[in-house]
Symmetry: C2
Subunit: 404 residues, 2 copies
């Protein structure tokens, strides 16, 4: 190999409005570039403590076992299943998209038996169906629900799921990869026993870590295992010994730079305030959907079940979706997501996550779509989509003034 073939890498400018990764704040990028400390350096251990405190605030929990796992969101998913499901355990898994299916696969790989509740993609699991299943089946170890189904944009109601699971002595496991930091994820108030997320969605940190938290019930269940966790790397009983202030036992070398980045990303969440951040996500989604409506791009999930950070809209037949996505990327530098599985070619998934979730980005995207649609003759009255979004922002300012 000649040296000449490897040039400086200069990424092209991108506006990331897909299902993640989202845009990353310059302060987080800067944090990633700081010189390294050792993984047992007292200063680094102090930074880990701060990350734990900031994660507890973001998950709205007092759980001691609240950490960032050294892997992506999917690693968080597998780690929670690997630790809480033992061979022979039964688990009810809500399946309404790719990530519910993936969870079911993981339960099986870790020796569990899956009792799926399958509902159409784009809908959510009705709690009545869950109650019915709990009351008519042999005891289950856990109920697994996806809060934010990134493949469909569906938002699972969870407020009453925890108490229902407690009635049947089941753990409640929740996938909050896409939701954390963009809509409320109230781990303690909702009685969630295990909740995991990813860094590259509404926390706007690069991908590579999985924030997660376990209730004392879940920790008790770890202690009651009769077989070791099938994964050593994901074994919470070992990982917790490294994160816990009283032990700090080496398990694996922590991903130092990524943890620098996560701390800064969480500090930005903290500075903005969780409720302001959640309101920002809702407002920008409202504006985007108002604009998309003018382009005949309508949300897949029903009202009240839509994720503001992952807007999944169905496509009229006349739209050549792959062509538009490629024009957005190549001519405008804008990334949006296509459909997965049965939704391939039928939907777009437009992410407004964390730093990507800004009025300017909503208007930029709508403008670009109007231009492309007009070029292809799919739109005869351009300007209405942008106008509808702008009216949403104006209306929101008016109502904010009124309530002030």
């Amino acid at each position: 190999m000649s040296t000449a073939q490897y040039q400086d890498f200069i990424p092209p400018s991108r506006l990331l409005l897909g299902p993640g990764p989202s845009m990353v704040h310059p302060r987080v990028l800067h944090a990633l570039s700081l010189p390294l400390l050792g993984h047992l350096d007292p200063v680094f251990l102090g930074l880990m403590d701060e990350i734990q405190a900031l994660l507890r605030a973001t998950f709205q929990t007092q759980n001691e076992l609240t950490i960032a796992l050294s892997g992506t969101g999917s690693a968080g998913m597998e780690a929670v299943i690997a630790n809480l499901i033992e061979p022979g355990d039964r688990a009810i898994v809500g399946v309404n998209g790719i990530f519910g299916s993936r969870l079911a696969t993981m339960v099986e790989r870790h020796g569990g038996t899956v009792l799926p509740i399958e509902v159409p993609w784009g809908t959510t699991i009705p709690l009545e169906l869950l109650r019915d299943r709990l009351s008519h089946s042999a005891p289950v170890k856990a109920v697994v629900l996806v809060h934010a189904e990134t493949s469909t944009g569906a938002r699972q109601p969870l407020e009453d799921a925890g108490s229902l699971c407690r009635d049947y002595d089941a753990l409640l496991i929740v996938d909050a990869v896409t939701s954390l930091g963009g809509v409320p994820v109230e781990v303690d108030a909702w009685g969630i026993d295990a909740c995991y997320s990813g860094t590259q969605k509404c926390l706007s940190c690069p991908p590579g870590l999985a924030p997660l938290t376990l209730s004392s019930r879940a920790v008790h269940s770890l202690q009651e295992r009769t077989t070791p966790c099938r994964s050593w790397y994901f074994d919470f009983s070992l990982i917790a010994e490294y994160w816990a202030d009283r032990t700090r036992a080496y398990h694996h070398t922590a991903p130092i730079s990524m943890l620098y980045g996560l701390r800064e990303a969480l500090r930005l969440v903290h500075e903005e305030g969780l409720s302001a951040r959640i309101a920002r996500h809702q407002l920008n989604s409202d504006a985007l959907l108002a604009g998309l409506h003018k382009l005949d791009l309508l949300p897949l999930p029903a009202a009240g079940h839509r994720l503001p950070m992952l807007n999944c809209v169905t496509l009229p037949d006349r739209i050549d979706e792959a062509l538009v996505r490629s024009q957005l990327l190549n001519n405008y530098g804008i990334e949006i997501g296509g459909g997965l599985g049965p939704l391939r070619g039928r939907v777009w998934r437009i992410g407004l996550m964390g730093e990507s979730c800004r009025e300017a980005h909503v208007l930029t995207l709508l403008n670009a779509l109007e231009e492309i649609f007009t070029c292809h003759g799919w739109l005869t009255h351009p300007g209405r989509a942008v106008q509808a979004a702008e009216e949403t922002y104006t209306g929101s300012q008016r109502s904010a003034r009124r309530s002030a």
Copy 2:
């Protein structure tokens, strides 16, 4: 929580001479701070292709399945075991330190039976012992050896291990977490079937990725599995579909920024040239050991079995090792490693890995040790350690001139 409690994070200056992470080149730190691309962006996929080519050159292999796994070196370890060991498989595992023990644990967790070859810490597994075990036991699926035992500084000879394993139709699995990029790791020439490493050692990238490579024999063994890999996140048959140019099927969101960093770190390896880099590691280790000898700090492994990037030296009784390490860190900003397991309190592990492996660092450390030892009255003739190291460098220049 008040905002005031989270300040800007400014890491103290550290010279990292422990068992990893090592110092990271400013070009790699800069790469980490570049804006993100999506994990399916064509430009990012091109960067992944370059990483694969650079990794093949570093592993000295033509293996198609050569990738960077989304987890630390320990994740690479578990992934290789999880994929190549099925329930019921038997594996011979060389156990001569922490990482051999960890491998044995992992084989068991993934359903395999371990046939350990245990030898004292600091020594290596004699191939005659391996041949004896292979010829006297029922067929084994794999032989697992640690090339660089980071807990003891022992360097396992591997040149003839591959052909021996082939004689018995066993796969050869090698842990090269600490060795890759610092001593030869000749995957194809030595007949290694699966080899994994970490980024934070001689590649001098932050921790968080596990470079790894699988031979066609190992890939064939994946295809012959009768049960799915127990880990979904680590399932090579799925991960390969994302890295392969012909498929690019989404598995999990790649750790974009870390992969930027790894590409730049590998480009630095490529620019220096593997043989120059290996010679640099050997020379600096020789100089360090010459200096440490004057302080009565002698290598644990026998000559010919020492890792140049991980210098494990035993401590005379008069040395208060924890005190010295804390003075090095707090007064000089130098991190070195203590002993693990049975070697706790009895050895130091001094890393000279990648960017940490420089003449200036060797001299800085020896100077600091001489000062501290003199202060405590453990040394009456300071200066000899630094002098011995300098003579090694001078001698090396002379012999280089002679051979020029």
